[in-house]
C-alpha cells in the first residue's frame, strides 16, 4: 500500500471495481469519493483564490437552495441502486459525488466566520456562476483521469487527498473553535492529520 492509498483509506472503502484507473494505477479513492473530494478541493481553492475565506455574509434563499440542491442526485442514486431499481456506473458516482460536495466549503466558511452579534457583510459568494467553476474543474479532472496517464493519476490523487484533509480540517476546526472559543487553525490541522493517520493505520492493520 502506497502513501496515497494509506491516506485514502481514512475516508473510503477503496473497493477495486469502484475505483478509476489512470496510467495503470488505481486511484486512492472510489469514484464517488473522488468526485466528492475533488469538488471540495476545487471549491476551497476557488474561495482561497478569490479571497473569500473570511466571508461571513449569509446566502440568499436562492443561493442556499442552489448549494443544497446537489445533495439530492447522490441520495437518489444511492437509494435507487440500493433498492435494485437501477444500476449505476463509476461516472455517475463521480458526478453525483461532485454535485453533492461542491457547496460544502461555502457552508463551512459561513458557519465558521458568522457571528450572530457581530457584523456580517463580507460576501462568500458574489455570483452563483462561481459554482460552475468548481464543477468545470471536476469535469476537467475526469478528462485527466481518462487521458492523463500516470501524470493524471498523480495529480488527481494529490488533489482528492488534499480534499480529504480539508474536510477533516474543517470538521476539526469547527469543533475546536467552538470548544476553545478561539481560532484553532493549527491544532485543527494537526488533529485532522492525526485522525487520518490513526484510521489509515487501523484500516491497513485490519486488512
Amino acid at each position: 500500500m502506497n502513501f496515497f492509498d494509506f491516506f485514502g483509506s481514512a475516508i473510503c472503502h477503496q473497493i477495486a471495481e469502484r475505483r478509476f484507473h489512470a496510467g495503470g494505477y488505481a486511484l486512492p479513492l472510489c469514484a464517488r469519493c473522488t468526485g466528492i473530494y475533488l469538488a471540495i478541493f476545487a471549491s476551497a481553492l476557488l474561495l482561497f483564490c478569490l479571497n473569500r475565506t473570511h466571508g461571513n455574509k449569509p446566502f440568499s434563499v436562492f443561493r442556499s437552495v442552489l448549494l443544497c440542491a446537489g445533495f439530492f442526485p447522490l441520495v437518489i442514486d444511492v437509494v435507487s441502486f440500493t433498492l435494485g431499481l437501477r444500476d449505476t456506473t463509476n461516472y455517475i458516482r463521480f458526478t453525483t459525488g461532485a454535485l453533492f460536495a461542491f457547496g460544502l466549503p461555502y457552508l463551512f466558511i459561513l458557519v465558521r466566520n458568522f457571528r450572530a452579534d457581530g457584523e456580517y457583510e463580507r460576501p462568500i459568494m458574489k455570483t452563483p456562476a462561481e459554482l460552475a467553476v468548481a464543477l468545470l474543474f471536476c469535469g476537467v479532472s475526469l478528462l485527466l483521469i481518462r487521458y492523463g496517464g500516470f501524470f493524471g493519476y498523480l495529480l488527481i490523487s494529490a488533489f482528492s487527498l488534499f480534499g480529504v484533509v480539508l474536510l477533516y480540517y474543517a470538521v476539526c476546526n469547527l469543533a475546536l473553535s467552538r470548544l476553545l472559543k478561539k481560532n484553532a487553525g493549527f491544532y485543527s490541522f494537526l488533529l485532522a492529520i492525526g485522525i487520518i493517520c490513526v484510521i489509515g493505520y487501523f484500516r491497513t492493520g485490519v486488512q
Binding site: 475516508i11 477503496q14 434563499v61 459561513l110 484500516r203
Partner: protein
C-alpha cells in the same frame, strides 16, 4: 339673516314664506364660516366675502401681535390636488427593494419560540438540506436570537452531511473487521 331664494327680498325673523313672491324660505345663514349653505346670489356672496375679509384682518392682527410664533407646518394635503397628473402613493411601511424578505416582520429583539426551535431542529436532523436552508434564512434575520438559532441549525445540517461522508469510512472499517449490518454497506455507498 334670511333671504328669499327667488326674489332676494330680506325676510323678517320667523317668516316661512316670502311676502312678495310667496317662495318658501330655505336659505338661512346662521354661521358666517358655514360653507355648506347653498351657493346663493350676489348679495349673499358679498356678505360672505365681507366676513372672509373680516377674518383675514383679524388673522393679520393676531400675527402682528405675535411675530415670532412657531410657523405651522403644512399638512400633507395642503398642496392643491392636481387630478390631471398621476401620482404614486407610498406609505411609510411600504416595501422597498433594499429590505430583505425575512426581516420585515420580526423585531430585532424577538426570541425564538420553543416550539419553533423543536420543530426546526427535528427538521434539520431529519432532512439536512432543509435544515441548512432554513438555518441560513434565520441567519439573515434582524433578531440576534434568530441568527444564533440559524447558525445552530446550519451546524447541525453540516454535521449531518459530514456524518454521511464519514459513514462511508465507518462502513468500510466495520465491513473489514466485523460481520453484520455493516458488512454490505460499502457496496451500496
Amino acid at each position: 339673516m334670511n333671504y328669499c331664494k327667488k326674489c332676494l327680498r330680506v325676510l323678517n325673523e320667523g317668516e316661512k314664506f316670502c311676502p312678495a313672491c310667496g317662495e318658501a324660505v330655505t336659505i338661512t345663514i346662521e354661521n358666517p364660516a358655514d360653507k355648506h349653505t347653498e351657493p346663493g346670489t350676489a348679495s349673499q356672496l358679498d356678505e360672505l366675502n365681507s366676513i372672509i375679509e373680516e377674518n383675514k384682518a383679524k388673522k393679520e392682527t393676531a400675527e402682528a401681535a405675535a411675530p415670532y410664533a412657531q410657523p405651522v407646518s403644512p399638512g400633507p394635503y395642503s398642496k392643491p390636488i392636481d387630478l390631471s397628473t398621476s401620482t404614486t402613493h407610498q406609505s411609510p411601511g411600504a416595501y422597498t427593494p433594499s429590505q430583505t424578505y425575512s426581516t420585515a416582520s420580526i423585531p430585532a429583539d424577538a426570541e425564538v419560540p420553543m416550539s419553533t426551535k423543536v420543530i426546526l431542529t427535528i427538521l434539520s436532523v431529519l432532512i439536512a438540506p432543509a435544515g441548512i436552508i432554513v438555518g441560513i434564512i434565520n441567519m439573515n434575520n434582524k433578531s440576534k436570537a434568530y441568527r444564533s438559532f440559524g447558525q445552530v441549525m446550519l451546524i447541525v445540517g453540516i454535521t449531518q452531511m459530514a456524518v454521511v461522508l464519514l459513514c462511508c469510512c465507518a462502513g468500510s472499517i466495520f465491513s473489514s473487521s466485523v460481520s453484520g449490518i455493516f458488512n454490505e454497506l460499502r457496496y451500496y455507498y
